[in-house]
Amino acid sequence: MSAPSTRIIWQALGEVEDPELPIAITEMGLVHAVVIDGGAVRVELLPTFVGCPALGVIRDRVRNRLLAIEGVRSADVIFRFDPPWTIDRMSDAGRARLVAHGMSVPRVRLAEPAVCPVCGSTNTTLENPFGPTLCRAIYYCRDCRNPIERFKPPADELLVAGR
């Protein structure tokens, strides 16, 4: 049996959905490296937050999906914190998917004005830097008066030092 191709592996990883957001782990930019050695596949992932409670679920989903590929004998899935995940790793398609789901998604960092996913206004205010998951914050749109869930990247440069 021949070894699986890199293309086949990445295609399979693109079918693995993040447990907390409606987006594939490849669109989220979680996949750092794929190493194929015969039938042994090693995948290295970068989590958004290292304390994310979904890491075990992601690992198991990836491992099970890989083992379902013809020619894969073993699947080794590990997380790395170096290099750190940054929001520029998220693909445009992934970003569009989150926006279609009703989320606001910053381009670079949380300190940018939040764009309301309902009316497009930036007349928005931070309600809570913590939300239903570690990677979400809660805002409020002063124009259309809707609460907003916004994707929250780890803080590279935070606006609030000393506030």
């Binding site: 290292v50 409670p53 997380f79 790395r80 914190f81 750190p84 809570n128 935070l158």
Partner: protein
Amino acid sequence: MTGLWAAPDAPEVLREGPSREALRALLLAMADDELMLGHRHSEWTGFAPDIESDVALSSIAQDEIGHARILYEQVAALDGTVPDTLAFDRTPSEFRNAILTEQENGDWAYTIVRAWLYDHADAVRLAALAASPLGSFAALAKTLQREEKYHLLFGNAWFTRLAGAGGESRARLQVALDTAWADAAALFEPTPGIERLVDDGLLHRGPAGQAALWAATVGPRLGALGLEVQVDQAVLAAAGGRAGWHTPALTQLLDEMTSVWRTDPRARW
């Protein structure tokens, strides 16, 4: 739990016994701090004064416990132990957390004061590690810094709010500060061998320097808010969490935290 993370990639010098042991002791103390405070924060789930704080403290608890997990994996990689055993199967005197982190939650003012003092101290500690030539251990500190900043955002907002409210709010904040201050300063009680790491150029800033930087950060903030602290230079000598001395609060915490695990230590979850 089985390991989630890639093995540490550390400089050659850490293969040497004393440096390795000193780094292990430091990381274990950090992991124990995060686990205990994470557990205490989680006790507010469902009981915080408003829904935003409830969600925030629950999230911070999740963060801290996740950080404890990754730190235990680093410790285990250095000494060949098992992360689960480190977290759940030690007696109270084997834990190295500072006493501050095990204390009961008390009132909201104490919870906020403790979180605020701790997160500022943790920021100083992580900055020292992040600036050190420790390979992946320094990289981990940098990654944790990005996540911890959100905790400070929460703590700063509440601390300022309680101090500015006057009346009972402010009075309780001062009482909480008086209660927490000595325990918070003891976060910088040296772990075994830490001075050696500093002397060997492996740790950017030692406990005394870290404590001074922390005091220089929180002191002026307290002054600006008109709050006072009793500075007692004897508190570091009176500490003990890093040597395994704890209060009954830790025994109570561990009893509750490990109750599920103890029903079947070999279970796979």
